[in-house]
């Protein structure tokens, strides 16, 4: 299993992370929920790379923001163990015991972004199951999935909320374990989920809504 895209010599263009923007129908629905709340504020869990934009967006509206960069945590070399046949696998039990440690029914909104597409397969289902536990009934979860048109070298993005339905996308690169901090690579797309896979993944949730876009990304808004 390859976790990172093929190495290539860095070029001047590659040295500067690319930024793009996209309109997000799923984010628009979440913004509607955030704007309609006039009480103590909602609890938002952002599972993407830490973004000051997102913190500002949610806290300015009076909501509570929790950050947890789950993809980066899942790449921790300490999670690699050998199974009974000597194959290197990710220790999903340890991962779940060390991450997403919150009270049950704590969050109104969870932003998964493109986490399931880039996370090691054995971690995806336990992660979604844990998210079900920590979300309030009626809470919203937003996730992005690549469509079949996306290639294995599809970029992994960090999402910054810059408006009600506008996201700025910045390529994510991580330093590889044991390599110089300057030697960073993008995570590799691990798989492409079809609609049936996605429905199975969220089968314990109350409802699921798909938004198709032109950029080979399928937005999924799930209600707990």
């Amino acid at each position: 299993m390859k976790f990172f895209r093929s190495s290539s010599k860095p070029t001047a263009a590659a040295a500067v992370p690319q930024k793009r923007t996209r309109r997000s129908s799923g984010m628009a629905e979440i913004s509607r929920l955030l704007n309609s709340n006039s009480g103590d504020g909602l609890c938002v869990l952002d599972l993407g790379s830490t973004s000051a934009n997102n913190i500002r967006f949610f806290t300015d509206k009076g909501h509570k923001n929790y950050s947890e960069d789950l993809l980066r945590s899942s790449l921790d070399p300490a999670l690699r163990i050998q199974d009974s046949e000597g194959n290197w696998v990710v220790d999903s039990k340890t991962f779940i015991s060390e991450n997403l440690v919150y009270e049950n029914a704590q969050f109104d909104v969870v932003l998964c972004w493109n986490l399931p597409d880039y996370m090691e397969e054995s971690l995806v289902k336990p992660t979604i199951d844990r998210l079900w536990s920590v979300m309030k009934p009626g809470g919203l979860l937003l996730a992005f999935f690549h469509t079949r048109d996306a290639g294995p070298d599809s970029m992994c993005y960090r999402y910054h909320v810059t408006g009600t339905d506008v996201l700025e996308m910045q390529e994510v690169k991580f330093a590889l374990p044991g390599r110089p901090a300057s030697d960073k690579q993008s995570p590799r797309l691990q798989r492409v989920f079809n609609n049936r896979h996605i429905e199975n993944l969220f089968r314990d949730f109350a409802s699921i809504k798909f938004f198709l876009a032109r950029d080979a990304i399928r937005e999924v808004l799930v209600v707990r």
């Binding site: 830490t50 000051a52 960090r158 901090a181």
Partner: protein
Amino acid sequence: MDAPQTGEFAHIGKSVVIKGELSGSEDLYVDGSVEGKIELRNHSLTVGPNGNVKADVTAKAVVIQGKLDGTVNASDRVELRKSAVVTGDVTTQRIAIEEGAFLKGKVDIQKEAGKSGSASS
């Protein structure tokens, strides 16, 4: 941020390990290990790139380049530099986060009277 001049800051070097409670009335630069509690109130704490702090921190400003595990309560601002790895809740008026910084925890932006809190990349 480079390491500050030692004359301007109390400086804990990278080979120093401290366990217990640290308090003071001057700015502090930690490039070693501190485990316990750090209370600086009206002064700033900088955790250098080699710094490894396992402590609840109260200060005016907190700048993190290394590792910090604990709650951060900064009356003015928090800066997470690109090499920062922070696990714990952060309460402050302003926060700046460089690309590459890692934060696992709750961020609570306290609004100064008459002003709104802010966060910047």
